[in-house]
């Protein structure tokens, strides 16, 4: 079929375009051949623009030909026959993925262009665009993925590049510490994702979304899984989505992600990264349909996060945090919509929100001027209105609510206490056990085993070491 060939070709180009950008930037840095800023700009605009062009053409063709699902298959990336493992790389073009990939590419193109002038003359210019291209590749892979392992690949690219961009200013302590923290949360999400993928593979024998969710194109697919499996797989995927989108209880990383330069902030919690979790839920929506408890869980998490984020956004005093939590509010509403089964609404909401928030974030440093303009137009100072109902509550409740919002719902502390600490304790116990076994096996007398150095509050950027070597005075002064 002619359309299929054409879509295949165009789809192939859409996937390869950002990959080419990644290769060019990556190889040039690897070979220490420094591309000029202008050249980087041209490559960025050329490749991402080309990807955008092809993806828009696909949309046009699909609308004209009224075919709503095309699969571009690249075959198995890895095949291990003995254990029947195959990593199947294939891409799907349907009502969900095409709008998503167009959104991703439009925003990458815009933010990339913004970054070219914003990072002009910065020491890390090339590094930024290396991560940025990695991010674009991840977004395209994740949006278009037709198998769960392809989605995972894209997901990992996005996660890695996000963490690295947060730690972009690596000469200071806090960006690195916060990047690491975000990375840790992402790892939890990734682990859940991986477990879900294994479970689904195990149950269906393959990772194809089409196979898992029957033959109808999105959003009319029906899952073939039985409801118990659907619940567990869905739960794991929900954890993955919550980690990536900063839903409760993982919301704590959101303000930390602002350490990077403005364009990278715009990409993450403004536009793309933060929506990826919602996108995952959209992609596997047939699984959610399959299990009623799961559906309730999705709605519950979405609602709680929405209320939490709306509260927290109100008390944020810096423009980027306030936008980050405002973003979270909408993302969790999108999750609620997905839970309720309003899939188209969720998709439209997502696209609209991503565009709006990106614009707001890119012009966040103009806040002072914007306020002034508003004041002048209104002819007076801007009123600060606390929500009306707050006035009806007692001062003590107001106070507690405010404090909870200011401390961002204590989520970080709760995670540290309830998850990180027990986790470390278990592994420390294993460590002690292992040491004593070694001692026994090697015939040495049992020593008082020292604890692993990891038992520190995970928030601290400086890994605590118990040897008493003083740190050099220079680092001490500037910390």
């Amino acid at each position: 079929m002619n359309t299929a060939v054409l879509v295949n070709f165009l789809g192939f180009s859409t996937v390869l375009a950002p990959l080419l950008f990644l290769l060019v930037i990556g190889c040039s840095m690897l070979l220490q051949y420094e591309l000029s800023e202008v050249a980087v700009g041209r490559w960025m605009k050329g490749t991402i623009g080309f990807g955008l062009l092809t993806s828009v053409s696909i949309l046009a063709i699909m609308l004209l030909a009224r075919s709503f699902r095309e699969v571009v298959d690249l075959g198995n990336l890895v095949t291990i026959e003995d254990v029947h493992f195959h990593f199947h790389l294939s891409f799907i073009f349907d009502r969900l993925s095409v709008p998503m990939v167009i959104l991703s590419l439009v925003l990458c193109f815009t933010i990339g262009s913004f970054g070219i002038s914003y990072l002009h003359r910065d020491n890390g210019f090339h590094r930024f665009f290396l991560f940025f291209s990695m991010f674009a590749v991840g977004m395209v892979f994740a949006s278009l993925a037709a198998t769960i392992e392809t989605l995972f690949l894209g997901w990992e690219f996005v996660g890695l590049s996000s963490a690295l961009l947060i730690a972009y200013f690596h000469e200071r302590v806090s960006p690195v510490a916060n990047g690491l923290r975000v990375w840790t949360v992402y790892r939890i999400a990734d682990a859940a994702f991986l477990a879900a993928a294994v479970l689904l593979h195990h149950e269906t024998g393959e990772g194809q979304f089409i196979g898992m969710m029957s033959s109808e194109p999105w959003p009319y697919g029906v899952s073939t899984l039985d409801s118990v499996v659907a619940f567990w797989a869905g739960l794991l995927l929900l954890i993955a989505a919550a980690g990536k989108s900063g839903l409760i209880p993982f919301s704590g990383w959101l303000p930390r992600a602002m350490e990077g330069p403005t364009p990278s902030s715009a990409v993450f919690y403004g536009a793309l990264s933060v929506h990826l979790g919602a996108f995952l839920l959209l992609r596997v929506s047939p699984i959610i349909d399959q299990s009623f408890p799961l559906r309730c869980l999705v709605i519950a998490i979405g609602l709680i996060t929405a209320i939490y984020a709306a509260f927290t956004a109100r008390v944020q005093t810096d423009v980027k945090s306030s936008l980050a939590f405002a973003s979270l509010t909408q993302v969790s509403l999108i999750v609620v919509e997905i839970g309720c089964g309003f899939l188209y609404l969720a998709l439209i909401h997502m696209i609209g929100h991503a565009c709006l928030r990106t614009l707001q974030l890119l012009r966040a440093p103009t806040l002072l001027r914007d306020y002034k303009t508003l004041e002048n137009a209104l002819g007076g100072s801007l009123s600060v209105r606390a929500p009306a109902w707050i006035k009806w509550t007692s001062p003590s409740i107001q106070r507690r609510l405010y404090r909870a919002a200011m401390e961002r719902g204590y989520l970080d502390a709760i995670l540290d206490e309830c998850f990180a600490k027990p986790f470390l304790r278990i592994f420390n116990a294993f460590d002690r056990l292992e040491r004593s076994w070694i001692c026994i096996l090697s015939g040495e007398p049992l020593k008082a085993t020292s604890k692993l150095n990891m038992e520190t509050n995970t928030k601290k950027p400086i890994g605590t070491t118990h040897d008493s070597a003083p740190i050099p005075s220079s680092t001490r002064e500037h910390s």
Partner: protein, 1045 residues
């Protein structure tokens, strides 16, 4: 009873100690106020009573920020010739004076030693690094960098002879009959080295040794000498900064920083307390002040809060903190923490300086920000400190309990690590040895020579080397760097000023601009375009200090230097004929404003946010358009904005309408508008400053300036400094309107300042970012002057375009071969580009301030690096009363700008606010890096990246005696000059003689023989060049070509 009285009085004395300590420490906090009004000031203002060189080192000790550029940076400048050998020699000679010629080693004077240290890099490293370097690399096989070939061969040759003749044979001899040799101790040493090295070199074939082997032998021998010297000598001991705070002790002991957890909370809380409208839900009980608000908010026990904060609620309740005043609370916390009263001063200072940006801002908000929406309560800094110490207390306890065995008391924590010495030697043996090793090579001290040296001699050398340590070398480099530029300035000006005074015989147009360095090129281009144009420079508020409110503005803002408090209110109003239309427009503006405010708020909330987001796809259009086509988008936007903008035909309500007695409000010293007397005073003052009396042209354009840019929290810093970080257009407009008023002219005529009836003043505004010029009150230009205006505006527009072009050579994002129009388009796009981190370079590269008649410098290319203040010494009296008032403004303002640039350049992350890229506007008062950092003060790296950190050189056209007398009457100016925060020189009004001020007073400056290059136009001179440019005579800018002598 007695006991309570006693404890009360101790409480009081404790509180007064705390009070005193806070006041003292507050002095050292950054004094930058809310960022919406950015006022340039000397970053080290608190140290102004010291000499500059001492102050920068004191600043280093206090803040840990660098006093000068890193040495490597100066070496780069040295390598490219910006610092020359001559400069370094001159500075060293000046420094050392007669001590320079003292011989400190055989054949080497102190001067030569220092010179050798300056001229080639000194490799310094930690002991371990040097150990690796000497053991694992071939560092000992080759001469170090900067040793001349002659010295190398001389050293090797001497060594060769010595080895062959003495060492080898004597050694052989010695081993036979040891007892008979009467070797001195020193030669003994050499023999020992010989013995030590013998095994490593093939002595059997010594006759066949290659050059390389001989070199290696020499250097290894030398190194052994130096090691022994290093061991025999002692280094100066330096006192380490004692660990004052518990946090420092703990950090040193357990490598965990309790400030991190404290700051995380404190920053959020302070931001909420200082918020000017970012959050839509204000902190409860804000009006009760920092301290009580905090205690109320945190009085509840929250089981799932962060663990370290668990004791907080209990402490607040048990110790009844809320009944204590902040000062009592501080005293209480300090005594609980076991800080001896004698150390309170320094403990409080270090504590406040742990988070300088926020502490400073809290202080500023309480003392100096009554213009903001919600300033902080008086005494907020005390409250801030009280809160901070409560948090410090529990954080220290928490970290200590977690990491230290057993329950340590606060007092014990303060003793942690005290056993280690407070002072330690500057360098280790190896470090000393390696330094000596390099020095010996550079100065050609061969081992034979060194074998004669006693330990005392070595010690002298070590002392000298340590005296000329890193900071001293950087200081010398800095002085040399400044000297190099100073000489260029003085040479060029003295040569240029030798010619006739460049005043046009017939003047068609006079343009009065701000003294700002950015207007230098604009004025030059105007003068080049038409020799009959004369330009003047005066502080950009044009002697009209006022509170101003534009027709579409919400508030009055002060437009004058920050040191002046204006007394008059001026409002811009629409014409009476268009009241209805104006009302409609303002209603539409209001409606639009409400709508966009609504979107702003609702996009951040829950329910209405959904609606906003569903329609959010629409924002894809402005998003893409603004990022990709900034200039086009802004044009379309301004087209639409034009529909609701106030009409251009507004006027200023400038004149004071006397109120009847009933209306008069006595308490209010401020008045609406100016009286005619006040107007006449303003014009008279400006005319006097400019020395323009009775020489007005037909058309005089008064040109204020400002700047507009997007995504730039520091936008206000780019505006006119003389308008307190505001835009100077209204001042220019007011000044012109005053000068045109016939009643004002009548008063002036009575006072002897005649302004001809044919003279017309026109107010205008120059946007220095996009080089747009706009004029005010055009519809009032009399018919007789319309053609003058048309001609003038054509020239001015052309000059602005060329100015844009000259500016653009600094921007890498536009090609060097662009045309005037392309350059103008480019700068227009820049000011509207969201992604532009450098809309313009502001005052970067400023280095000079010339206070003189323009005729003395007209036609000289100053590369936008000079403030140009007009002053005519011939119209001034013998005491220099006009000069006094000019300098009272110019010295602190230009000096402040220059010093802020200096400090932000030499330490961008310490004194400056680091890179602009991660900046995040907080509470509408400042910027943080990321979500929770200290408030960053100073200038960003992007603003200063092309700046050359040199102290500003004032060049005043007057006699030195006048300056000295002004200095004696004005302690502020005297302090700036005597403590060398600025440099100053005078230019004789009648000749080209220059006198330069040094510590010992003014001395005649002898210009060097360098010839000032000539160029036809500015374009010819700057074309194709991005970096700083030297001086040149621009012939088309001159009125009289130089008479050939």
């Amino acid at each position: 009873m007695n006991v309570t009285v006693e404890s009360k009085s101790t409480n009081e004395s404790a509180a007064s100690i705390v009070r005193h300590a806070i006041d003292h420490a507050a002095h050292y906090l950054p004094s930058q106020g809310p960022i919406a009004v950015f006022v340039h000031h000397n970053t080290l203002h608190a140290f102004e009573s010291m000499r500059f060189e001492e102050a920068v080192e004191a600043g280093y000790n206090k803040y840990g920020s660098q006093p000068y550029w890193p040495e490597a940076r100066y070496r780069k400048e040295y390598a490219r010739g910006r610092i020359t050998d001559k400069d370094i020699d001159a500075v060293l000679l000046d420094d050392l004076r007669q001590h320079g010629l003292e011989e400190i080693a055989q054949g080497t004077t102190r001067f030569e030693l220092y010179q050798s240290l300056m001229k080639s890099p000194v490799l310094e490293g930690s002991d371990a690094e040097l150990r690796w370097l000497t053991a694992q690399t071939d560092a000992l096989d080759h001469f170090c960098q900067g040793v001349s070939e002659a010295v190398k061969s001389q050293m090797v040759d001497t060594m060769r002879h010595w080895t062959m003749r003495d060492l080898r044979t004597a050694n052989a001899f010695r081993s036979d009959i040891q007892a008979n040799v009467d070797a001195s101790k020193h030669t003994e040493n050499s023999f020992a080295i010989f013995k030590h090295l013998e095994a490593f070199f093939p002595f059997s074939t010594i006759e066949d040794w290659s050059k390389a082997t001989w070199q290696k032998w020499t250097l290894h021998f030398l190194w052994q000498d130096c090691i022994r010297a290093g061991e025999a000598t002692r280094s100066r001991r330096i006192a380490k900064q004692p660990y004052l705070r518990h946090r420092d002790r703990l950090l040193n002991e357990v490598s965990e920083d309790c400030d991190l957890i404290v700051h995380d909370l404190l920053i959020r809380f302070s931001a909420a307390m200082m918020d000017q409208g970012v959050a839509t839900w204000q902190i409860p009980n804000r009006s009760e002040g920092f301290y009580r608000c905090f205690l109320t908010l945190f009085q509840d026990q929250v089981p799932w809060a962060e663990r370290w904060m668990a004791p907080l609620a209990k402490i607040i309740r048990d110790e009844d903190l809320i009944s204590k005043s902040p000062l009592e609370s501080i005293a209480h916390s300090l005594s609980v923490m076991g800080v001896p009263i004698s150390e309170w001063d320094s403990y409080i200072e270090r504590t406040l300086l742990a988070l300088p940006g926020w502490s400073g801002m809290v202080d500023q908000m309480a003392t100096n920000a009554d213009w903001t929406l919600s300033p902080a309560k008086v005494g907020s800094l005390d409250e801030f400190l009280a809160v901070r110490l409560v948090l410090d207390r529990i954080a220290v306890r928490f970290i200590a309990n977690k990491n230290l065995c057993g329950q340590k008391s606060f007092h014990e924590i303060l003793q942690l690590g005290s056993r280690s010495a407070i002072d330690s030697p500057l360098a280790s043996c190896r470090q000393r040895a390696f330094h000596l090793f390099q020095t010996a090579q550079k100065l050609g001290w061969d081992p034979k020579l060194l074998s004669q040296w006693s330990t005392a001699q070595w010690q002298t050398i070590v002392d000298e080397l340590e005296h000329c340590d890193g900071v001293s070398r950087r200081r010398v480099f800095q002085l040399a760097y400044e000297r190099n530029y100073r000489i260029q300035v003085l040479d060029s000006i003295s040569e240029h000023a030798r010619g006739p005074l460049q005043v046009p015989a017939k003047v068609r147009l006079q343009v009065i601009t701000c003294i700002d360095d950015r207007e230098e090129s604009f004025r030059r281009h105007l003068e080049e375009l038409d020799p009959m144009i004369e330009t003047f420079g005066a502080p950009g508020f044009f002697a009209v200090p006022m509170y101003f409110r534009g027709a579409a503005d919400a508030h009055f803002i002060p437009l004058c230097p920050v040191i002046i408090k204006p007394k008059n209110y001026v409002e811009e109003v629409g014409p009476l004929s268009a009241v209805q239309a104006e009302l409609r427009r303002s209603q539409t503006r209001r409606l639009l404003g409400k709508a966009s405010h609504g979107v702003h708020l609702s996009s951040r909330s829950l329910i209405s946010g959904t609606l906003t987001a569903l329609l959010g796809s629409l924002s894809a259009f402005p998003l893409v358009a603004r990022v990709l086509f900034p200039r086009l988008t802004s044009r379309i936007r301004s087209m639409f904005a034009g529909l609701v903008k106030p009409t251009i035909a507004t006027r200023l309500e400038l004149e004071r309408i006397e109120l009847t007695d009933d209306d008069a409000i006595d308490d209010n010293p401020c008045t609406e508008g100016f009286t005619l007397e006040e107007m006449a005073n303003a014009i008279q003052r400006l005319a006097g400053d400019l020395g323009i009396a009775n020489k007005f042209a037909r058309l005089v354009v008064v040109l204020g300036h400002g700047s507009s840019s997007l995504n730039n929290p520091h936008e206000s810093a780019y505006n006119c400094g003389a308008c307190g970080g505001g835009r100077g257009g209204p001042n220019a407009r007011a000044n012109a309107a005053m000068a045109n008023d016939p009643r004002v002219r009548r008063i002036l005529r009575e006072r002897g300042l005649a302004i001809d009836d044919s003279t017309y003043f026109l107010g205008a505004y120059h946007n220095t970012c996009n080089d747009a010029i706009s004029y005010f009150d055009l519809e009032r230009i009399p018919q007789s002057h319309q053609s003058d205006f048309l001609a003038a505006s054509k020239t001015i527009t052309e000059a602005a375009k060329r100015n844009a072009h000259e500016r653009s050579r600094r921007f890498e994002s536009i090609e060097l071969d662009s045309s005037f129009d392309e350059a103008l388009n480019h700068v227009e796009g820049r000011s509207e580009d969201l992604g532009q981190a450098r809309p313009e370079y502001n005052h970067a590269t400023n280095a000079v301030c010339i206070i003189a008649r323009r005729g003395r410098t007209r036609g000289l290319f100053l590369d936008r690096r000079s403030f140009l203040n007009s002053y005519d010494p011939t119209t001034d009296d013998a005491n220099g009363s006009i000069l006094t008032r000019i300098m009272q403004a110019a010295v602190p303002v230009c000096g402040g700008i220059n010093l802020e640039y200096y400090f932000s350049t030499v330490d961008s992350s310490g004194y400056g606010c680091g890179s602009k890229l991660p900046h995040n506007i907080t509470s509408l008062i400042g910027v943080m890096e990321g979500a929770a950092s200290d408030l960053r003060t100073g200038l960003s790296q992007q603003m200063v990246e092309i700046h050359e950190p040199v102290r500003i050189l004032f060049l005043v056209e007057t006699q030195p005696e006048v300056i000295l007398s002004i200095m004696s009457k004005n302690p502020l100016i005297d302090n700036y000059i005597r403590n060398e925060w600025v440099q100053i020189a005078t230019l004789d009004p009648n000749s080209a003689n220059i006198q330069l001020f040094t510590q010992s007073g003014f001395h005649p400056y002898t210009p060097s023989e360098a010839i000032l290059p000539k160029s036809k136009t500015s374009l010819d001179w700057y074309r194709g060049w991005r970096d700083h440019l030297g001086f040149a005579r621009i012939e088309s800018g001159m009125v009289h070509q130089e008479v050939k002598s």
